[in-house]
């Protein structure tokens, strides 16, 4: 039986842990609200953007001269994976589930003989897939200095992506991020961004015939790179909300576990205290009888 002093120290330390996890949970809750607001605020823009882009693509995208960003390079040989994760840990399965998705995807590509390249956004995902896929890393984007994600962050990532595309470094780009559903559910998602893809419904429902100024192709060529930035931006925001949501529920669980542990330890502590008292009594009584 562990001695009383040890148990007491143990209880104290678990109590301190509980205080920390509780605080982290509350911080995550506050940050989650902000992240959700940001994600909400960006939604009108990205929805509008995608529907315009989709109708443009439907009308101008089939011609031979359509931008490469839309119709692709005609090959599928080199795939670029953009794995977006958090800069910090302690957020449950958030980072590892994205990493797992990317790993499976990469394995599938490798089996079918494709070449892969990887850009990582966020330190944790990089660490998680380094062992298996480290040799494919081509770039890392560090967002740890930024307190909140701004559109310019997404723009710089998009710029890097497009520069590589212009240099014919890859044919298909896919982003990996986590879609925020609610605090307990975040869905790791893959999305192909180059060549551009659109939801089918938005392209068919929009039947207005527009005039274009300048012409369709100029606009399309101007909008497609922005579209990449927009998609990355909304993925980053979704990721931000998911991270905080995952951290909040992870910390909630940790707080509850710490509570359970304290209860158990307290019972053990009381039991051994009683045992010590009983022992002492027995010793006194038997000592008195022996006289």
């Amino acid at each position: 039986m562990p001695n009383l002093k040890d148990l007491k120290n143990r209880i104290e330390s678990v109590k301190n842990t509980r205080k920390i996890t509780k605080a982290m949970q509350m911080v995550a809750a506050a940050k989650l609200r902000r992240a959700q607001d940001a994600a909400e605020a960006s939604r009108p823009y990205s929805e509008r953007f995608n529907s315009v882009l989709a109708s443009l693509a439907a009308s101008a995208g089939n011609s031979e001269s359509a931008p490469l960003l839309l119709r692709g390079t005609g090959k599928q040989d080199v795939h670029l994976l953009v794995v977006m994760t958090a800069e910090r840990g302690l957020c449950g399965g958030f980072n590892s589930s994205i990493a797992k998705l990317a790993r499976n995807y990469a394995a599938k590509l490798k089996d079918s003989g494709k070449q892969i390249k990887i850009i990582t956004v966020g330190k944790k995902g990089r660490d998680a897939i380094k062992r298996d896929l480290g040799q494919y890393f081509v770039e890392h984007v560090d967002l740890s200095e930024f307190k909140s994600i701004k559109y310019t962050n997404a723009q710089s990532i998009a710029k890097a992506l497009l520069a590589r595309f212009d240099d014919n470094e890859y044919d298909v780009a896919t982003i990996f991020y986590s879609k925020f559903v609610n605090v307990v559910t975040q869905i790791p998602t893959t999305q192909q961004i180059i060549p551009a893809t659109f939801d089918d419904q938005s392209s068919t429902s929009d039947t207005t015939i527009y005039d274009y100024e300048p012409d369709e192709e100029t606009i399309l060529a101007d909008l497609l790179p922005r579209g990449v930035a927009t998609q990355i931006f909304s993925a980053l925001l979704e990721n931000g909300a998911s991270e905080q949501g995952a951290r909040m529920s992870a910390m909630d669980n940790a707080t509850r576990n710490a509570g359970d542990m304290i209860d158990k330890l307290t019972i053990e502590f009381n039991r051994s205290r009683q045992a010590v008292i009983t022992n002492e009594l027995i010793e006194i009584i038997s000592g008195a009888e022996a006289l």
Partner: protein
């Protein structure tokens, strides 16, 4: 014919305006154009400039740095960056001007002897400067 239409101005980070308006002057890539209710459906690119909104509730001016406008049932302007004119301080203007300048420099180095991209960047920069002059901010070249 209705004399107002729905107008939305959104940037990736927030929705700046959503109201009924009677006319909007848009800095289109090929020249300014004014959209009024019942305008034919148009999609146009934006150049950096000033977006003038006339509404029954009062006129507002916004600064936009690029993006596009979609004229359909109503008008939606999707700007890369947009702020109300009176929020644009000299500092903020300097910042975006600096960005355009550095981009021009980079493009110039990268695409030597290729007039296309360099001209585009130069145009972007001169549009920025023109916009600054129009609103009385110093472009200190």
């Amino acid at each position: 014919m209705a004399n107002t239409m729905q107008f939305d101005l959104v940037s990736p980070e927030r929705r700046l305006a959503s109201l009924e308006v009677s006319a909007v002057q848009i800095p289109g890539a090929d020249g300014d154009l004014t959209a009024m209710p019942g305008h034919a459906p148009v999609i146009t690119n934006l150049r950096p400039g000033i977006l003038k909104v006339e509404a029954p509730s009062g006129n507002t001016d916004y600064v936009v740095t690029g993006g596009f406008a979609e004229m359909g049932e109503g008008l939606s302007v999707l700007a890369e960056r947009a702020l109300p004119l009176d929020e644009l301080s000299q500092d903020a203007f300097d910042e975006i001007l600096e960005e355009a300048k550095s981009m021009y420099k980079r493009v110039e180095e990268e695409f030597q002897n290729q007039p296309g991209p360099v001209d585009d960047a130069a145009k972007l920069l001169s549009d920025m400067v023109a916009m600054g002059e129009q609103i009385g901010l110093n472009a200190n070249k």
